[in-house]
Structures are given as structure tokens and as C-alpha cells.
Amino acid sequence: MTARSEKFILFYIGDEQYALPVLIGNQFIEFENMTLIPKISQKIKGLIYHNGNIVTIIDTKELLNIKILQKNKQLMCLTFEADGYYYGLLVDQGGETLAVNKTFNDRHKKVFSKYFRTKDKKKVYILDIDDILSQINIYD
């Protein structure tokens, strides 16, 4: 019997690799102009229009509390759909999709605690959708 595997899309923030569960609406999009929103959490970067939908752009660095000063001319996001709404995680670089048989839990972390190990034993943290939405206060 084979173990049940989960599929993830990998992406980079700086040199660090992260993973997002494969969901409906996953796509890497490059864009330049973003609509800014006043009086909003710093974790929300803005809005873009893509394929008929308004995509809420999430500042992944702010979400993960990563301090990297790297400004790309061309912005890129990894989109996903949750409950009929579209979101995009700002990423520095896209990666491949892979199936993972085993995930682990980092007890020291309150959010984004799930991870898996790559073949070369590197930890890749998973950005759970519920964690993302709770962090940007969508549930408030």
C-alpha cells in the first residue's frame, strides 16, 4: 500500500523555499501595477485584476515576518482561491510542484508550523490557507 501524498507548489522568498498546498486557481502571475488600499493591514499589499477576478495581494514577507530588502521591478504572485475569493502571495520566484508523503509539525511555531523535508533534508515550511487567512484577519 502506498502512503497518501499531498501536493504542494514551491516558491522562493529571497533564497528560502516555501510551499503552498495545491489549490484551485493556483498560478504564478507577473504584474506591475497594483491598486493600493487605504487604512488596511500591512500584510495586504493591494489589489490586481486578473482573469475576471479581483485578486487580493498579500505581502508574504510581512506575513512571515521576514526582513529582506529586495525590490523587484516586476512583481510576481502565486494565486489561490478560497471560498470564492482570490488571493495572491507575493513571491520572489516561482518553483515546481511536488508530491510529499510525510509532513511534520514544528512545535516552536504557532502559525505556519507544518513543514516537510526535501531530498537534501532541507526544511520547507507550508503556508496553510487557514493560517494565511487568519493572519490577514479575513475571519474578523
Binding site: T35, K39, Y49, N53, T56, Y85
Partner: protein
Amino acid sequence: MISTKYKDLYLSTTKEQFKKLSTLLLYLEKKPASQNLIENIFRLIHSMKGAAATMSYKKTVNLLHAMESVVDAAYNGDLRINQKILNSFFDILDILKQNFNSIDKHNKEIVLTKQIKLIKTLLNQKNTKDASKQKKEKHILGSLPSVAELTVSTDKLDDIGNSLDDLLINAMKIKNKAKGSEDVDFLKVCVDNDKILANLRRQLEKIRIVPLKDVLSSLPYLVREIARNENKQVEIVIKDHNISLDKAIVDEIVEILIQLLKNAVAHGIASKPVKGKIIVDFSLVGDRMYISVEDNGQGINWQDILALAIKNKIISSQKAKTMTIDQIKKFIFQAGISKGRNLNTVSGRGIGLSLVKAKTEELGGSIEVISKINKGTKFIIDLPQPLSVFRSIIFNLLGYVFALPLDFIDKIINLDDVKNLNKTKIFTYKKNKYKLISLLNIFDIKNFEPLYKYIALINYKGSKVALPIIRQVQEDELIMKKAPLIFKNNKYIKGVAVSAQGQAILVLDINNLI
């Protein structure tokens, strides 16, 4: 068994048929001898039976078959429709509803043996003596026209709508290029395309638009059932004024109405010999829609509500002494306040009105209540009307791009010189005074004292306001899109629209800005 992938289609079709059946039975209660009604009910039950048989829901088929036999007997004159038969049918509607829920959630039917048996006993009332005389030559089905209906999920319509929006945006871009090219033929083709696409979008919108009366047709049945359980007599009047709305919004409104009607029957209308009356009234005023639900019941005693709030420790007795009626009114929309003495399946858990308020606010609206002892209670819901394609002014404010629908704007004034209006409260134009709106204050944008070049004069619901604009006022056609969840608690932004350039633009909510 047929694949469960057809289950959703079956359930959505059955839901509509179920609603029609409830309505027809209510009419039949008023006119029990109407052959036309009996014929239509037969046709509906027969169609529901066919759908259940296709899905191999055998218990459902047997129950519907038994119901069909009763209606068939009534049509042929072998059986007279009486209150006992109607009550049994109404009871069975409840069971069928539970059955459909079970199919939906657990993928299996519930046990229906008892109901089938009950229906079969109704056939014992058959008038066998006259049967041969009154028997119709032709069976009902033979004379019925067949109607083909197609059920399409709103998700699929959304997908088509999104693709069409993309196409519309591209067409706008091409039209703008054509305007600059001086090629008249090219421009003419673009203008024609524009008309075709706009027409296509309107047609698509029309598919989503349903008459309120169709969707609300199940409410009289609901009220009848609650009233029957509560041993009350209640009449419901729905004034829909032939309004039609987007099906998705109507579904949300129905949920709100169901809760308000449950409350009105269970708590509003008193158990007295006088017949209770509930009036549901819809009206469209400007860009708002108002829905009122009014009963002629016992009214709400606000002191009782205050006492409950104290008892449930929502407020201290000390604080309660200084509360105004308007403040007390807010308590009934809080979870934990219930006027019902007993908990029952209808209402009385004290969460109903809090859900109504939450749902109304989700739709960008508000709710208020007016009540007089022994006169009745009226709930008024104020909702924004959804926009689709609209002309708007678009302007920039320190990097933020806002839009305001043109319908609200009286005039845009180009100021002779740029002006610092940050401390100005009132703007005077041709002896008319306009209250100045500061988006900087509203959106908490600090440390900027911009100089304004334009002022948009707005006359909205009798209020005169002026909106200062820094620069770059454009007028354009925008397409309203589904607002992201992040705007759920932002009352100043009505939603997000898209321009011809494919840019997302924040649409201001004039109602709340004022």
C-alpha cells in the same frame, strides 16, 4: 445507480419544484375544487417522481407515487380534496424537505414508510360509487404540455461573466486606440462591437435576474407551517412591486426574511382570536433597496428587553438606568437576548436577530426596528443596490485610485487656483452651501496637506456635499466586480470595479461618506 455527480443538479431542480408545489398546495387550500390546480399539482409530483426515479431514490419515488395517486383520484372525481388531505400533504412536504437535506448531506434517503402508509389511508376516502361516472376519459398526463427547463449553477454564469468582462475590457482598449487612429471604419466596427458586448452582458445579467415573487413564493407556506405549529392564525402579504434582482442576492435576502418571519409569527403575533397579519414590502429608492417586515402583533416592550439584558449580564443594572430607547433597541440584535419564554424549534434561542443583523451587514446594509405595544413591530432593512456597468469619475488621492458613480455628481468645478481645503468645512457655490468631505480624514491619511484643483458637487438624498479632488479627474465606464473580503468591515468602500485598462479601482460608498 446513476453517478452522484448528477445529485446537485437533481437537488437544485427539486428545490425549485418543491417551492412550486408548496405554493400550489397553498392555492389549493383556498380553492380545493380547482381542477386546474389539481392538474398542475399532479404534473409537478409526476415530474418530481421521474427525477427521483432517474436517481434511483426508491423511497422518494414510492412516496411521490402515493401522493400522485391521491391527486389522480381527486382529478378523476373519486376523491374530494379536504383539509385532512391538505394537512397530510403539508406534513409530507416537511418530511420531503428533511429527505432532500439527507440526500444532500449524507447521500441517502430517510425512512418514508410511515408517510407512504398515511397517504395510502387517504385513498380509503375514495368515493367508489360515483367513480365510474366521473372517470375522465383521458388521463391527466395526456393533456399536459411538456416544459423543458435547464438549471445552470451561478458559478458557471460567474465564469462566463468573468470571461465576458475580460472581452469587454479588451474591446474598450481597442476602441480607445481606434479613437486615436482617425480610421472611421475601424472606429465604427469598435462601436458596433461595444454595443454587441454590452448587450451580451445585459443578457447574461438578465439570466441571473429573477422576479422576487418567484423566489418568495415559498414564504406563505413557511408562515402557514409555523403558525399551524404555534396554533395561531397568520396571513402574509408580500408586496414585491414586480422587482427583480440577482438570484444570489435574493437567496441571501430570503434567509434574512425567513428569520424575521419566524420571529414575527412566534413572538410578534400573539395567541389571540384575532387573525395576525404580516406585510413584507420591498421598495427601490435611488441606489438603495428597502425591505420592511411588519406585523400587527403585541409589539416589543423595551423595558422587558432591558430586564433581559441585565438578567443575561449583557449590561449592569446601574448602566441600564441611563439607557435611551435607541440604545436598548440595539440589544435585540445581540446574541443571548430572546423574547421567547420557551426554547423551541421555531425561534427563541436568542440568536436569530443577531444572525439577521450579521447577514444584512454582510450585504453592506443595515437594519432598524420600530415597535409599539399592542400595535405591532416593523423591521426595516436598508441594502445597497448592486451595480454592474456604470459611468464614473475616477481620481487619484496620494497613490490611491477612487471612483464615484456619475449618477451622484451634480457638477465638477475646476478651481481657478489650487487650494488648500484641509481646514475648510463648508464650500459655497452659487450661494449654495456644501458640506466638505475629507477622504484624508475618513481613511486616516496623515501628514499630508494636499492642494486641490477640482471639487465634485454631490446632491444625495437631499444632502449637499462637496468632494475635493487633487488632480487627474477622468470619466470612464467601469465594471463592478465581486468585492474582496477585506472590505467586509470597510463601510466607505462599496466595492471594486475594473477600468478599460484592466485596473482595479476602489468605488466609494456615497451613502456612508455622507
